[in-house]
Amino acid sequence: MSSELRSIAIVAYRDIARFWRYKYWLAGQVAMNLADILIFGLIFNGVVNKDLIPDYVRFVTPGILCLSIFISSFSIGREVGVELRREVTQYLLTLPVRRESLIIGRLLGGAARGLIYQFGFLVFASIILAPPSPEGWAYVLATSFTLALTMSSVSISLSTVTRDFNMQATIRSLTYYLLFFVSNIFYPQRVIAARLGPLAPIVDYSPLTMATNIYRWAFKYDVLLNPLSNLIGLLVWGLIIVVVAYKLYLRNLLRD
């Protein structure tokens, strides 16, 4: 058991260490996420109807926390895709590590990248909104970990579906649009209800809506939200996605 844990830790550590190899990419992504808050938020502040959203920067900041997790956790999927194309996968399979440990290590490595990357944005959100209470921090940590694990699982499993480079990039973009635009990150619930009518509940059950709701509650943007029901929903999503991703990655690892 302890050797299994050690193997998982080694695989996860390898992925975390490789994260720093992409310093310029990381710097670019941080700049982009900050630009999303500052520029997109500021400009939309001038365009948005104040009766609906008094301050768009504050409104969109919890969603940017989700975005930062998505970007960093998805970086592992890109690497898994490259490994498949270059057949590094064959090398990984020859390592004296059980396949289950390899997969769990990779999923955790991806999740750790998400958490590391998000840390600065949590501080930023505390400044722009309000620092969470100890209970709020507990919810934030649980949400961030579940979301990061879910996103790294999604990205790894999607990257193993095809070896086509263009296809991998397109799948990534489509996943982004599906997850982010079919959620309450950019627009409030009542606008979604008004625009999407009977389809609005789809947005309510999106994992990103649930994560954003918890962040909005924890950073005191909307204290009337129920964090527990959202966290339970997010955990259910996370469990389903991680199990499916685990099985898909295992199957595709062994596929010729």
């Binding site: 520029i39 365009v47 194309r85 480079f165 973009s173 950019f186 627009y187 625009r195 999407l196």
Partner: protein, 265 residues
Amino acid sequence: MLSLHEFKAILRVVEWDLMKLKRQKAFIAMRTAWFIIQTLVFGYAISKITRPDIGVDYYKFYLLGLYTALLYSASIARAYIIADEFDDGIIDYHLSLPLKRSVLAAGRVIGGAVSTIIFTVPMMVFILYLVGGLEPISLLTSIASALAFSTGVVSFVVIIVMKLKSTDTTDILFGTIDAMLVRLSSVFYPLPIIKALDLPAYYYLALLNPLTHFADFLRALVLPEYFLLQLTPAQSILYILGLGIGLLVVAIELFERKLEAGGVK
């Protein structure tokens, strides 16, 4: 001056690129799904939260910006295809063909631009229908300007990918360029609103950005009430055209003088 033989050779290269479009059914389906989400979910919802007094119907403004972003992203996606071709040795195979390098370069760029247009025209028609600008003249002008814009972007992509020669770096670099150029433009918010932010560097970058000019040209073409322009439509389209031709010439020059098997020497 181009001989008839060279012209036919360019057409053959273009045809090769277009044939590949047939094999990209899954790619086209996914991009279409992406378009539907942006048009009918994001655009529809975000336009509901905008102020009614910004000077234009934001949904129409957004749709024309969305087409610009879509055309740009589809053109940028050529980078992934060409980088894959590098990995698979197809570029080396192309270089061994009895074709002049300039013919090969022009054919690849035009082929890339034309297949991007074929892929995005149904979406353009849908958007023009939604904004009430679906008339033969505006449709033809939009297609012609889109071709000029896409030629510029594909040329840019060819220039960069030939230098990078790596799928890894291509992915990171184009992911960043793609996201940055869309943000630093008037694709999703009018230029005067960017100007009002009092961030001169941001405003001038947006003003230099070809995406701004293509999006604003389309808006001026099909939205008669649209006045939030910083350049006239004629100035904008000349800028797009100049950039397209200029970058195409650079791409041809690079193919002719610098390209060797394995990338740019």
